[in-house]
Amino acid sequence: MKRALLEQLNAARQERRAAVLVTALESGDQRLVTPDMLGTDLLGDEIDAALRAGKSRLVEQEGKSFFLTVQVPPVRLVVIGAVHISQALAPMAKLAGFDMVIVDPRTAFATPERFPDVQVIAEWPETVLPPMKIDRYTAICCFTHDPKIDDPALEQALRAQCFYVGALGSRKTHAKRVERLEAKGFTPDDIARIRAPIGLDIGAVTPTEIAVSVLGEVILALRKKPLRMETPA
């Protein structure tokens, strides 16, 4: 491996960008492929599939073997609202391998006692999210019902192309939310990316069941969404 390739791979990881190192096993030739190059790379489809699975793998093409070293950023789950659903979601998200953070400016909700094993930040989303550099490997779930807290997070999540943006609330609540976002200049396509009502329709009733339906929906978005749309950073 050329040193420059190793450096590029490490740089991509530090900047939370996906990259795949392709090694032709017979010749030893190597190249680094980023998601914006999938359309033109000879192994584009195979690399796309490996990126979506997030796993390195061996592939064959025309009798030749290629090894794909897949590097995708760890997936983060940012939850707005230190509420009952978040309490149920925290241990489940941890088990499923998500890096979870809870943001809620209401200090009565955002206490370590209520959330023993997860990072809780008692600040406004508009303060916390920019330095966190949310990106397309970040999922955002808004659970507060309060437009003052949820809306700024939704706006930033849509701009940052987060792979999942969900907001709790009835269809009526969401209709009002759509009006507010339209007034801020978001297009119908942008707004359609918000999953609302949040969660897969499994008939969830309790906070724990809603947490299951939300986690299922996040995993669906993560594993099924084509990364082909990714553009250069």
């Binding site: 491996m1 050329k2 040193r3 190793l6 450096e7 791979l9 490490n10 990881r13 090694t23 096993l25 030893g28 796993k55 390195s56 793998r57 061996l58 090894f67 070293t69 897949v70 590097q71």
Partner: protein, 108 residues
């Protein structure tokens, strides 16, 4: 602290910057009950330091030996490890699985 595959590649780069010869071993194929998944890395320096794993410790010794030769001659290597009786001359995987490991030098 347990090293993730990411730390291993970062450490490989750090070793290079420190002027050391470095090889990288990668699990590229597994059959049966292999201890480490495809894509797992082991980084090795010319003076025998290493970070990461390609098995549960069963074959690392052999991989490090091959990696030292690889750093010396610059040629890539494909190693295969199975149960001990299949490859009697080298260490085996007691778990009964088989793995294929690609070893390459990182050129400075």
């Amino acid at each position: 602290m347990l090293a993730s595959d990411e730390d291993i590649l970062g450490q490989a780069e750090a070793w290079l910057r420190a002027g050391k010869g470095v090889a990288l071993a990668t699990v590229i194929e597994t059959w049966g009950s292999a201890p480490r998944p495809v894509g797992s890395h082991l980084a090795i320096t010319e003076d025998g330091h290493f970070l990461g794993s390609v098995s549960g410790g069963c074959v690392e010794g052999d991989v490090v030996t091959e990696a030292l030769d690889c750093i010396a001659d610059g040629k890539t290597r494909m190693l295969e490890f199975g149960v001990a009786d299949e490859t009697a001359w080298r260490s085996g995987l007691s778990c009964g699985g088989r793995i294929r490991v690609y070893v390459e030098k990182v050129s400075s």
